[in-house]
Amino acid sequence: MAAIVDARGLSCPQPVILARRALEAGDMPVVVLVDTATARENVTRMARKAGFQVQVQAEGEEFRLTVSK
């Protein structure tokens, strides 16, 4: 079971807000789809700061961030 947050096309801070909401909901892992390097960095920084592990996969011009405990 993975929760998917589709934050493609959204500008910051929305990807971070959506990702955080999903993390708070508790279904793990949370997969966050983003399409800018800024959103990738911001979501990664937020999740790592909150004690999660983040795996980043580049898929073409988009990124798939898998956040888990």
Binding site: V5, R8, G9, S11, C12, R20, R21, D35, E41
Partner: protein, 377 residues
């Protein structure tokens, strides 16, 4: 090599270095000829550019500022080298235009963008405290809207031409400032003979500093609005450390150059009408928060292909034209016969700031989506 640079620029040291770079270069630009406490001011410099093009006729604030051109082109170069240039657009462009226009009207009620507010403080202008407090208040209201589901909607990947439009417009401006063609007998292009618009560093220096800052800010995502927003929204001090570095380094540089003069009254290109310093920047802060970036950040984004940020910039330039054509911009304090005459806003300017707060609040209230349901697979 690029990977290692990426890690540096995305780190806390990266953002601190970006802030420090702006902090040292802005006072040096002032020393090289830019107006006092205005080594760099994105709002003022876009306003000057609007004036040079004849979009407004305030004769003292007309000059095509090479720093603005440099910001966009420096960000473009960085985005191309690091493969981040991506043409995208289509996220509520007309709303971004309106936000840009009101952001400028608010900034010109205070007489400066957030960068200049920080630089004014670092030069001893205590009115900046009111402006920065207003900025934080406006951003806090914006954060409230964001938490309640405010969104401008998604941007789409689009034709490369969309992403290249702003950089090419800037190249056009660069040609105009280099060759200074005169299109009719009395102008445009207009260049101020007196006042802040006549004060500028040599073109090559302004452009080089703009390019350097544009490059570094694109890599580090430097944003003054984001700095305040992230602290309020989630206690994240990453961007704020860049802003702190800017103020600290600018203050030390100003001290070294003898450019610090403490006080409220009679500060250069500033007024001491506290309420409107606060409310003007509150409007600007709210508009920046709703549009997702301070004026500098919007320029850097427009350099990396963001067509929506480009629309915000054009909104700001248009807002500057309205601000001066309709006498909405603040007048600075003046010293007449040894006595300080407090400047500030005209009645029309006050109405415009309040109207801006109402319009931006309506945008924040009405453009909402219920929290997206998280899809579970």
């Amino acid at each position: 090599m690029l990977g290692r640079l990426n890690r540096l620029t995305a780190s806390r040291w990266g953002i601190i270095l970006a802030g420090a770079l702006i902090g040292v270069l802005a006072p040096l630009l002032q020393r090289a000829g830019n107006p006092p406490n205005m080594g760099i001011c994105v709002a003022c410099f876009e306003r000057d550019t609007a004036g040079a093009l004849g979009l407004h006729r305030a004769a003292t604030v007309q000059y095509i500022r090479p720093e603005i051109i440099g910001f966009v082109l420096g960000a473009l170069v960085a985005a191309l080298i690091f493969r981040e240039f991506k043409a995208r657009a289509g996220s509520a462009p007309i709303v971004r235009f309106v936000l840009g226009a009101f952001a400028m009207i608010g900034a010109l009620a205070f007489l400066g963008c957030p960068w200049r507010a920080l630089l004014r403080l670092a030069g001893g202008d205590l009115n900046a405290i009111l402006g920065l407090a207003g900025l934080a208040a406006g951003i806090a209201i914006g954060v409230g809207f964001l938490k309640a589901g405010y969104t401008l909607g998604r941007a789409q990947r689009t034709y490369a031409a969309v992403g290249w439009t702003m950089p090419l417009l800037m190249l056009g401006l660069l040609l105009l400032v280099i060759f200074r063609p005169q299109f009719t007998k009395d102008g445009p292009i207009f260049f101020s003979q007196s006042g802040p618009g006549s004060l500028h560093a040599p073109l090559v220096i302004s452009l080089a500093v703009g390019l350097a800052i544009g490059f570094v800010a694109q890599r580090t995502r430097f944003c003054t609005m984001g700095a305040v927003r992230d602290v309020i929204l989630m206690g994240d001090t990453h961007l704020a450390s860049g802003v702190g570095a800017l103020v600290a380094v600018a203050f030390v540089t100003n001290l070294a150059l003898g450019q610090v003069h403490w006080g409220f009254a009679g500060q250069p290109v500033a007024h001491s009408s506290s309420l409107w310093n606060f409310l003007g920047m509150a409007l600007a802060g709210l508009a920046f928060a709703l549009a997702g970036g301070c004026p500098g950040r919007q320029l850097f984004l427009s350099g990396e292909g963001d067509g929506d940020a480009a629309i915000f910039v054009l909104g700001m330039i248009t807002g500057a034209a309205f601000a001066h054509n309709f006498n909405l911009a603040a007048s600075p304090d003046k010293v007449v016969n040894g006595a300080v005459q407090v400047g500030g806003l005209s009645s029309a300017g006050m109405v415009a700031v309040v109207a801006g707060l109402v319009v931006c609040s309506l945008i924040g209230l009405t453009m909402r989506q219920a929290p997206a349901k998280v899809e579970v697979q």
